[in-house]
């Protein structure tokens, strides 16, 4: 992280917010409500930092004189769009896995199923949830679902209630979906009555506590996508905590596909269903009637993601003890962070361990110098002494990927992941290998997993964006370039920089910005 004294303050005072808001309102007609302060702050920080300003006032001067800069900023400010079936895999997981699982564990007497769409904006998300629920097993089990959409924007809520959407809102949907779930009305289309009937709307501010009684319990599912991107970490923590309290045991929290609760909350169990990462509120042991039933398997414990590549697996030992002893939450069938070593033991003495770490550091330096053959030899020296040394496995995986020995690279990366499933770098290396093998889908999955482990792994966002762009998914591409820029700001010296191949982070930032502009124009120029 850069020294705070040398960088722009991350807090935007109310006066500064008003100044920017008024300017934007006057010049674009877009009125940013108080809820957008975080969104505006992130956009301002991104642009002002890019231009090297240390004060918001200085940036304001440029903004007020330079029309191009104003457009740049507005592009960032107005990205929080929503659409029907945004990230469809989440709705597939909801319909096919999550709902049946929750029903299985619900008391028989309970005939309700409640979903809260928090921050629902103009209603696309709750209506999509409604369609998914109508397609699920709920009806055949005689369960009547209800969905509540809440937002802080009363204007958005009015539009959500009116439920009339212009043609462009439906552009990404298949003809089949449109015919099945929508009816034409004056000014566009609206969801059919049985979809609308399940949904109601209410004003609610997520960061204003305490929550009204209406929101404080008995939810089976909470949707709150992209909130962690827009709120500051302390706010996000409070919001997520409130969701936790509001959910039934066994209930699920859906967040944005590129978000993670790592470092936000360790109360939820992370669960992967068909490539979608979700968070489940654990069921306390006393409610053990659910034991042995078909719970989706939690994917991993929540742990900090940054890994010192030069350090061996031994150095994880204390944290393993900590996580085993913490006992903070309910029973989980978790994959242990470090399975019992099955190969050679770690070095006997601390001196031997330090020696291996030094060899591994050298291997990483050689990689940075563009010497993968030498790096591989060095990594092998270390692995001869400690076959499960994470840093050495990663160095050899990276070297083999560079040399083009993909099978060996995959094997090393997977071995490192067996030692610690939370290695963003190992996931990233797998992504790179699949990318070079032109297996875009698998590459995309690995980059998404990288982001899940380390949301600030800039290059993973960058590659996801490039892949979306190549597919022609321009909205998704734009979002990921923006995420890359945000991550670059938050983590300019992260683990990811080991993969820059001699280029500077600054150049990556410029590349992202350029690509972002091109994607906004809808061009796929390669």
């Amino acid at each position: 992280m850069s020294n705070p004294a040398d960088s722009l303050r991350k807090d935007l005072s109310p006066a500064e917010f008003q100044r920017f808001r008024d300017w934007i309102h006057h010049h674009s007609g877009i009125y940013l409500e108080e809820s957008k302060v975080d969104s505006l702050r992130i956009s301002l920080v991104t642009r002002a930092t890019r231009l090297g300003f240390l004060e918001y006032d200085e940036y304001f001067d440029v903004l007020s004189r330079d029309e191009d800069e104003f457009k740049e900023l507005m592009n960032l400010v107005t990205i929080n769009e929503t659409s029907f079936f945004r990230f469809p895999a989440q709705f597939d997981a909801l319909r096919d896995q999550v709902i049946p699982e929750i029903l299985e564990h619900k008391p028989r007497a309970s005939r309700s199923f409640r979903v809260w769409s928090a921050g629902c904006s103009t209603g696309e998300e709750p209506y999509t949830v409604s369609m998914s629920l109508l397609d699920s097993v709920l009806e055949s089990r005689g369960v009547r679902p209800e969905i509540l959409g809440t937002d802080v924007s009363t204007q958005a809520l009015d539009r959500a209630r009116a439920a009339t959407y212009p043609a462009k809102s439906l552009a990404s949907l298949s003809q089949n979906v449109v015919q099945r779930w929508f009816e034409p009305v004056k000014g566009g289309h609206r969801p059919v009555k049985r979809v609308r009937d399940l949904v109601s709307f209410s004003y609610h501010n997520l960061i204003k506590e305490p929550y009204p009684i209406l929101f404080t319990g008995n939810w089976d599912i909470v949707f709150c996508r992209n909130v962690t991107i827009y709120f500051r970490p302390d706010s996000t923590r409070r919001v997520v905590n409130n969701f936790y309290e509001s959910l039934n045991p066994g209930g699920y929290l859906f967040i944005g596909h590129s978000e993670t609760l790592t470092s936000i909350s360790d109360r939820f169990e992370p669960v992967e269903i068909g490539g979608v990462f979700l968070y489940r509120k654990p069921i306390p042991k006393s409610e053990g009637i659910f034991a042995g039933t078909s719970f989706a398997k939690p994917v991993r414990p929540e742990r900090r993601r940054t890994v010192d590549l030069s350090r061996g697996s031994r150095s994880d030992t204390p944290s393993r003890t900590t996580s085993a002893d913490s006992g903070a939450s309910a029973p989980r069938k978790r994959i242990p962070a470090r399975p019992t070593p099955s190969v050679a033991p770690a070095p006997a003495t601390p001196e031997a361990a330090l020696e291996i770490d030094a060899i591994v550091r050298q291997a990483h330096v050689l990689m940075e110098q563009g010497e993968p053959m030498k790096a591989r030899t060095q990594a092998e020296l270390a692995l001869a002494k400690d076959p499960r040394h994470i840093g050495a496995l990663l160095a050899r995986a990276h070297a083999n990927a560079d040399i083009g020995d993909f099978a060996a690279a995959v094997s090393d990366a997977n071995e490192a992941l067996r030692v610690n499933p939370l290695l963003a770098s190992a996931r990233y290396i797998l992504g790179i290998i699949y990318l070079r093998q032109e297996d875009a889908q698998r590459a995309l999955n690995e980059f998404k997993r990288t982001i899940y482990i380390d949301p600030e792994f800039v290059l993973a966002h960058f590659n996801v964006a490039n892949l979306y762009r190549a597919q022609g998914s321009m909205d998704d591409a734009c979002r990921e370039y923006e995420n890359a820029l945000r991550a670059l700001y938050l983590s300019p010296e992260g683990e990811w920089t080991a993969f820059l191949g001699g280029f500077k982070p600054d150049l990556l930032a410029k590349t992202c910005e350029r690509s972002l502009i091109e994607c906004r124009k809808g061009t796929t120029r390669r």
């Binding site: 940075e368 563009g370 040399i403 083009g404 191949g501 001699g502 280029f503 150049l507 590349t511 350029r514």
Partner: protein
């Protein structure tokens, strides 16, 4: 020669994107290849005005690609700039022996890359 066409070769898609961005910002047209064999094939088929060639490439390494092109009467006129992380004199000597016009060591500065490109293109024109 602002709209010159440049072949950029690197096996890392990430790095290729960055190189492309630099060249596009210089107003050049860019074509790409991700391994040595593809580089050779593309160079022969497309006759680019200049080639930016990474050293570490699968199939054929950058030095060999460079040598093959430079020893061919038909293609020897295409300026080649090698991109290398190597700083040792030996590597530099190899670069020159293979006939590369210039080599740039990483980290690559966009301005340095663009000025090297402009310089080599000017030589061809002049």
């Amino acid at each position: 020669m602002a709209n010159a066409r440049i072949l950029a070769v690197d096996d890392s898609p990430t790095i290729l994107e960055m190189i492309k961005a630099i060249l596009l910002s210089g107003g050049y047209e860019v074509i790409t290849a991700t391994d040595g064999a593809e580089a050779l094939e593309t160079a022969r088929a497309e006759m680019p005005d200049l080639i930016l060639l990474d050293v570490m490439l699968p199939k054929l390494d950058g030095y060999r690609v460079c040598r093959l092109l430079k020893f061919d009467q038909k293609y020897k006129g295409i300026p080649i700039i090698m991109l290398t992380a190597k700083t040792e004199e030996q590597a530099m000597a190899t670069g020159i022996r293979t006939g590369a016009n210039q080599y740039l060591t990483k980290p690559i500065e966009p301005e340095r890359l663009l000025s090297a490109v402009a310089e080599e293109l000017a030589k061809v024109q002049g």
